[in-house]
């Protein structure tokens, strides 16, 4: 019979393995010009938020960089991002996948 500590170690190991097997979160860096006005920035944010799988959006008004973080396993393609930015009245100037920054 396995001891208590052996069983606990086994369970913990399985939990850690399952966590590491989860698909990684993907983020994207979008460059959009002319975002200084909140009427514009909120518009981009609102249109991107409507895309399925988008979990979080951060808009840096000063640099015109919009960071889109997707839910686990979801991805964003450039054409969809381009259309959302266009619907908001802007032009997508750059689209770059990047690792997601994990936040609680």
């Amino acid at each position: 019979m396995k001891s208590f500590w052996q069983r606990t170690t086994l369970v913990l190991g399985l939990v850690l393995m399952s966590v590491s097997a989860l698909p990684a979160q993907q983020a994207y860096k979008l460059r959009v010009d002319g975002l200084a006005c909140p009427f514009c920035a909120y518009g981009v944010e609102k249109k991107l938020n409507a895309i399925k799988g988008v979990q979080r959006i951060e808009v840096d008004i000063a640099t015109g960089i919009v960071t889109v973080t997707m839910a686990e396993g979801a991805t964003l393609d450039e054409a969809t991002a381009k259309q959302a930015v266009k619907d908001a009245g802007f032009t997508l100037r750059g689209f770059e996948p990047m690792p997601a920054t994990h936040t609680p």
Partner: protein, 326 residues
């Protein structure tokens, strides 16, 4: 061609150009008719605590209280006229009482009307923060909104809403039923009565409607019957932006005082401009910066009955108070 002839032609060209510039300046850059306003005080900094802001985007003053749309914090904050925090209400969300990026505000009949950019609606609160009702929903049909930016209320209770992405101004009954609209839904235009992302509206005591025609860099005015009256902002008010008197660089807020003067938040010029009801330029105040009396994008403006002016200083996350220099 002789060198002396070339020199003569060049001289004439320089004279003609100078005359054109002088003529243009006289025709399109009015001089101030009133002294500038004086900075009084400022309050607020970036944050989420009481008296702090994360994108102040709208402001209104009534009965000795200043109401501020604290947009990213999803709340309304209320202060006295000296900037002392009194109360707050709302949190981010889309249920009754919650707010999705509140923008320009108005108060009528002891009720606060909030244009909600993210929730595509106008939400009405009691001045104590009690949520009362919701007007409108997402869409482009009559009585629907696509990112409303500002609202005004007429004495009969009718609402006038700047319907930002629908490129129109809607007039609705108090219950939200459609009355009429100015502009063509979803279509940007530069001619009189057309809009390029309208951001705010204001009603004058005589019922005249002023529209902050955001990206056309102009103000448009309509009489109480809805007929177009006038427009102004740069040469011919045709989307020519600039930093001169009477010109704008994206208009994000408009309000009217008791004497029917029109105050305009001139966003990228970091200033407030004041005009008479007949669009005569009266004065302006504010420059770009972070110091006292400076703005980092002046986004919204409100005026008390005795002429004190309050401005939402968007980029500096604060409110500024100014008064006339008597």
């Amino acid at each position: 061609m002789k060198p002396t002839t070339v020199l003569k032609i060049f001289r004439y060209l320089v004279i003609v150009l100078a005359l054109l510039i002088a003529g243009g300046w006289l025709a399109f850059v009015p001089s101030a008719q009133e002294p500038p306003y004086q900075f009084v005080s400022a309050w607020g900094k970036k944050g989420s605590g009481p008296g702090q802001f994360n994108d102040p985007t709208g402001i209104f003053v009534a009965d000795g209280e200043v109401f501020v749309s604290d947009s990213r914090n999803g709340r309304i904050q209320v202060f006295d006229l000296d900037g002392r925090f009194k109360r707050q209400f709302g949190m981010p969300g889309n249920e009754l009482g919650k707010l999705g990026r509140p923008m320009n505000l108005t108060i009528y009949g002891n009720e606060l009307y909030v244009a909600e950019y993210f929730n595509d609606r106008v939400q009405v609160f009691g001045l104590d923060g009690t949520p009362k009702r919701i007007i409108g929903k997402t869409g482009g049909g009559p009585g629907e909104f696509n990112a409303p930016g500002g609202v005004a209320v007429a004495p009969n209770g009718d609402l006038f809403v700047a319907d930002f992405y629908n490129q129109r101004i809607q007039q609705l009954k108090a219950d939200g039923s459609f009355v009429r609209q100015w502009g063509t839904t979803g279509k940007i235009g530069i001619r009189a009565g057309q809009f390029n992302y309208p951001t705010d509206v204001a009603l004058a005591p005589d019922g005249r409607l002023y529209v902050a025609d955001g990206y056309n860099d102009r103000i448009q005015a309509f009489d109480s019957d809805g007929a177009f009256q006038r427009k102004w902002g740069g040469p011919f008010a045709m989307n020519i932006f600039g930093p001169f008197n009477g010109w704008f660089a994206t208009v994000t807020g408009v309000t009217v005082d008791q004497s029917s003067n029109v105050f305009v938040a001139d966003f990228y010029n970091h200033r407030i401009q004041k005009f008479s009801a007949d669009r005569e330029f009266l004065t302006s105040f504010g420059t770009k910066g972070q110091g006292p009396g400076q703005f980092n994008h002046a986004i919204a403006v409100a005026v008390t009955t005795d002429g004190m002016v309050f401005i939402a200083d968007f980029g500096n996350n604060r409110i500024e108070k100014w008064m006339r220099d008597n």
